[in-house]
């Protein structure tokens, strides 16, 4: 596969390490009321769709950036690639 890196352009997927569901960015609030069950869901429940999926890939043999790749798990079509740090900020993970 080819991942179109937002900074570096098309790069072979063999340069990347796969982590999985990009919902891992949404780490719950440890001080929250339901922190225990929220963390349980966060750690153990993952979507595994046959179709479009937002995934985390690490450009290990490249610029060491974490990316959020929107990929169709059936066709391997990739519709969007973003820097995970941008996604995290957009989701309110700024300090």
């Amino acid at each position: 596969m080819i991942i179109d890196h937002p900074l570096l352009g098309p790069r072979d997927s063999s340069e990347f390490t796969y982590l999985g569901d990009a919902s891992l960015i949404d780490r719950p609030d440890p001080a929250g009321e339901d922190a225990s069950s929220d963390f349980y869901d966060y750690a153990y429940l993952r979507d595994n769709p046959a179709g479009w999926h937002k995934e985390l890939w690490f450009h290990e043999a490249g610029d060491r950036s974490w990316l959020v790749v929107t990929r169709n798990t059936v066709t391997h079509e990739i519709s969007k690639v973003e820097l995970a740090s941008d996604v995290a900020r957009a989701q309110g993970r700024s300090k």
């Binding site: 596969m1 080819i2 963390f39 690490f58 995970a84 740090s85």
Partner: protein
């Protein structure tokens, strides 16, 4: 020996005679021959024995789709089984042997299988060898393996070199026939980067095998001229002898280029084959079409071929398989074969099952007739024909060309699960769903005429590259329509082969249908139709057609099996490339490697690192003697060990301390500058991930160490936290594992050694336990010093830029000479850490929590950190949780096996009574007996208890006493000395 079947014409070089042997017999051929064409020129039709029945077989085709003519090429370690004689390029000195025979090729003792054919029908493995069970291993399997099979391996190391490579292009053209050449030419003239790959050694595709003209040139001459023009262009890469084996995601294609296979002696250091990964923007598949046979009784004798193969051998190679030939065809292309053979002076009779064909030809045409049988023990001698009026006629001949129509070569169009579409006019499947970026042109697209191929190729390139303007002018060429009446097999009682490679007959398909195997994928597995080296390229359509007829369905309703890469077989060596043996992965050497080698160290692979395992001295009987000496010398005086392999991550930034607070379960915010702290990282599920130390070199600068094995995963994890969880923290990470050579100097005399090296005061007051800092050594070299200890002794780790690592190790040895400083390896390191009760990967094994490790109180409740929340959940905090303990044998001469389980002293031993397990064990030279670390339920409260450790694997049962995991200096006085 004379080439008795060599005739005029063709593209072989008659001035260049090549000598070769087949089954030890000497023959000659010419440059431009394949092994098959050269053997046929010499009158040799018999080239192999069939898979199951050991029937005599000759080539069915003149290409890579060949099911029969598989031979072993070369000998000794270079021997390669299952080489297709039809594609093996002849070279001087080639030696080939036939395979799958017992005795000689013409007298194969296993031909008795042919008489047992009623017994060896579809599914015979499944039905026959079920019982008794013991017979399978002892009798059936060896016999079957001997009898059924293809070539054999040399069982020697492959001396050839294989490479992998990477290419990039705007347009990849697969196949260099008329469509591919035209596509490449159109693209190349536009300035695009073009790769043209063809599996043959001569580009031109079918044009080399035809008498057709293009413009006013012979087709082969036009092809040669076009190839020459392409070769002159800098933006074109021509890749003959290159098979595109797969179409992968996002325009990536795999290809195998045969660099050396056509040379007698492979060039030293040169790859035999290169497996290319080709990154394309667009691709044109111009892979042509494959002629398919018709099944009839005994249609597998040497001399029976596809009609186009007879034509290829005559036109391209100047070979008449026999001077008398019969063509059996259901379509007009068969007449092209007949006409070409006739023109070469071969006497031809055409047998056409269609009743309405014109018989007005220069040669005999029997319309409405069918071939119903053949004769000839080791090769075709007679063909039996049933004429339109029902009469039978026998023709004496040595060559029978069969044409059941042409199958567009859709293989690569289906590699991403695309399914082909049935075309009634061609009576064949044509490409439908294409991989993104691929276009198909020429015969592969179902355009079977030369004019159609040229136009299709040009158009495909124009569309692919979005070129403006009109179609380029195309030379005039043949544009005959396809005229075919589907005809798959001749009805009758005899065995009619559909798949010659796997010995699958029409009867077998019928039987499997009767037995309920009605899905095409089941048919394939049950009968083996379409398996093995040719993957049914000439067989599958016939099988599908018979199956469709039996099911009363149309062929497209039955569907095809899925085409998967590779298109043709690929040597495992090509897939491995250079990554085999000691080059399986790169080797990482420590800064002291050269020095350690000089000391005679024994090395051990740790990940990719080569680490000194121990340093044997003469007089030591075994490794244990050596390790015991290294341990005692270190504990009694001083030892030195290369610990460079530990992962090191440089953590800087205003929020560096906050960041460490996040990734470690224990606190780091208050760690003073110039101090080191042990840290434990958890996974988010509360399980321990890794441990190490973090040294605070400045307010905003830490150096974090990881275990050797986890250096990369921990760095990845830290970047995940930084980028995905705390994107606006001011923290920068960079891995510096290899930038610093780091040595542990341990033992009561460690300070006395380092005092001679470090320029600053390192007395206990100035540099106490867990101190760290930038220092200079040896008169000014920048270095880092850490007062940390894995061994439990007074110890330091000293780090210098790696380029100085070798020099520093030698200097430490000099400085330590007065104290008999002893280099120690990973074994002694392991013994000392077990004696001290320090955890490593054996204990941080992916199932253990901080509490299990006896570090439960380290998990801070005052701050957030990865894994903190889930480490507190109920399931990980019960009264019977495992706790780290030490174990020692009650009878001190007994060994304690690592991996063994802890059981009560009395009672049965089973999993329900499991009390815990041992993770690490060794002989302690300081204590004089074995010791072990492990986990025991509620272990912290069971010190002093006597238990059994049980190792069902090694049948050991040892009575042990549970004790503290800190066998040596539990108060830590030595550390602080």
């Amino acid at each position: 020996m004379s080439q008795k079947n060599r005739i005029e014409g063709g593209q072989i070089n008659r001035d260049k005679v090549l000598n070769f042997t087949f089954d030890g017999k000497r023959y000659s051929g010419n440059a431009g021959d394949t092994l098959a064409s050269a053997l046929l020129a010499n009158g040799v039709r018999l080239m192999g024995r069939s898979f199951k029945y050991h029937r005599p077989r000759g080539p069915l085709t003149a290409g890579s789709e060949e099911p029969n003519a598989l031979v072993q090429l070369r000998s000794g370690a270079l021997q390669e089984p299952n080489t297709r004689a039809t594609t093996a390029e002849l070279f001087d000195g080639l030696s080939a042997t036939s395979q799958n025979r017992l005795g000689t090729l013409s007298f194969d003792l296993l031909a008795v299988n042919d008489r047992l054919s009623n017994f060896l029908t579809a599914g015979f493995y499944y039905k026959t060898f079920m019982w008794p069970k013991a017979f399978w291993e002892k009798l059936y399997e060896p016999v079957i393996r001997r009898a059924a099979g293809l070539g054999s391996l040399s069982l020697k190391d492959d001396p050839d070199v294989y490479d992998k490579g990477f290419l990039h292009c705007d347009l990849l053209v697969v196949g260099a026939g008329p469509a591919g050449l035209m596509a490449a030419l159109t693209a190349a003239r536009s300035g695009a980067d073009v790769i043209l790959a063809d599996e043959d050694f001569a580009m031109g595709g079918r044009l080399n095998s035809e008498t057709l003209t293009i413009g006013n040139e012979a087709g082969a001459d036009w092809a040669a001229a076009t190839v020459a023009e392409l070769a002159s262009l800098p933006n074109v890469r021509l890749m003959p002898r290159t098979t595109v084996i797969g179409a992968f995601d996002h325009g990536i294609y795999g290809a195998v280029e045969r660099m050396n296979d056509h040379l007698a002696v492979p060039q030293s250091g040169k790859p035999r084959q290169i497996l290319w990964r080709i990154y394309t923007k667009k691709a044109v598949l111009a892979a042509g079409a494959i002629e398919r046979p018709i099944a009839f009784a005994n249609n597998d004798r040497p001399g029976v071929m596809t009609a186009s193969a007879l034509r290829s051998y005559a036109n391209r190679f100047g070979v008449a398989v026999d001077r008398r030939a019969v063509i059996f065809t259901n379509n007009d292309d068969g007449y092209r074969s007949a006409a070409d053979l006739h023109a070469k002076g071969i006497r031809v009779t055409v047998v056409d099952p269609r009743a309405d064909v014109s018989v007005l030809k220069d040669y005999e045409v029997l319309s409405g007739a069918q071939v119903i049988d053949t004769m000839g023990r080791l090769g075709l001698t007679f063909v039996k024909i049933r004429l339109a009026d029902g009469e039978e006629r026998t023709i004496e001949c040595g060559a029978l060309g069969v044409s059941g129509g042409w199958n567009p070569n859709v293989h690569l169009t289906c590699h991403q699960r695309g399914r082909p579409r049935w075309d009634d006019g061609l009576a064949a499947f044509v490409p439908a769903d294409l991989p993104a970026g691929m276009r198909v042109a020429g015969a592969a697209a179902g355009d079977l005429s030369t004019a159609g191929a040229l136009a299709g190729g040009a158009r495909a390139a124009q569309e692919a590259l979005e070129l403006d303007g009109a179609m380029p002018p195309l030379p005039e060429a043949e544009d005959a329509p396809v005229n075919i009446t589907p005809f798959w097999y001749v009805k009758g009682d005899g065995r009619a082969w559909l798949d010659q490679q796997n010995d699958v007959t029409v009867k077998d398909v019928r039987l499997s249908h009767q037995e309920g195997f009605r899905s095409v994928e089941h048919l394939k597995r049950y009968t083996t139709l379409g398996m093995a080296t040719d993957q049914g390229k000439t067989a599958n359509m016939g099988g599908l057609a018979v199956m469709a007829e039996l099911a009363g369905k149309a062929i497209p309703e039955v569907g095809t099996t899925i085409f998967r890469p590779p298109y043709t077989p690929v040597a495992i060596g090509a897939l491995a490339g250079r990554h085999r043996g000691t080059e399986f992965h790169p080797t990482r050497l420590t800064p002291s490697h050269v020095w350690a080698k000089e000391q005679g160290a024994v090395f051990v692979e740790v990940g990719n690192w080569m680490r000194a395992q121990y340093f044997p001295r003469s007089g030591e009987e075994n490794w244990l003697d050596t390790v015991n000496r290294e341990v005692l010398a270190t504990r009694n005086s001083v030892g030195v060990c290369d610990v460079t392999t530990l992962g090191k991550v440089d953590v800087q930034g205003a929020d560096a301390a906050d960041f460490l607070n996040m990734i470690y379960c224990n606190g780091f915010a208050k760690l003073a500058v110039g101090k080191v702290r042990y840290g434990l990282m958890l996974r988010e599920d509360g399980i321990a991930l890794d441990d190490g130390t973090a040294a605070r070199l400045a307010e905003d600068h830490f150096v974090v160490t990881t275990t050797t094995a986890n250096a990369l995963p921990v760095y990845r994890h830290m970047e995940f936290v930084r980028q995905c969880l705390v994107p606006d923290m001011d923290v920068q990470l960079i891995s510096t594992t290899e930038a610093w050579a780091q040595y542990a100097v341990a033992g009561p005399n460690a300070r006395r050694v380092l005092e001679q090296i470090v320029d600053q005061d390192i007395s206990n007051d100035a540099f106490p336990f867990m101190a760290c800092g930038n220092v200079t050594i040896c008169g000014g070299l920048r270095a880092r010093l850490f007062r940390i200890s894995f061994s439990g002794e007074l110890a330091y780790e000293i780090a210098v830029p790696t380029a100085y690592g070798d020099a520093l190790m030698r200097r430490i040895m000099e400085a330590g000479a007065a104290f008999d400083i002893t280099p120690y390896g990973t074994e002694a390191l392991g013994v000392m850490r077990i004696e001290k009760g320090h955890a490593t990967g054996n204990e941080l094994n992916g199932t253990t929590t901080a509490a299990n490790l006896g570090m439960g109180r380290m998990v801070s409740t005052k701050k957030d950190s990865i894994g903190a929340v889930l480490s507190r959940r109920e399931g990980l905090n019960t009264e019977t949780d495992l706790r780290a303990v030490g174990v020692k044998p009650v009878d001190s001469v007994q060994r304690v096996p690592a991996g063994a389980h802890l059981m009560a002293l009395e009672g049965p031993v089973d999993a329900t009574r499991d009390q815990g397990y041992l993770t690490s064990a060794c002989y302690s030279p300081n204590l004089g007996h074995h010791i072990a670390l492990g986990f025991l339920k509620d272990g912290a409260n069971r010190l002093g208890e006597t238990m059994r450790v049980v190792s069902p694997l090694t049948d050991e049962v040892v009575t042990v006493e549970i004790c503290s995991p800190h066998f040596i200096d539990p108060e830590g006085e030595r550390l602080r000395a």
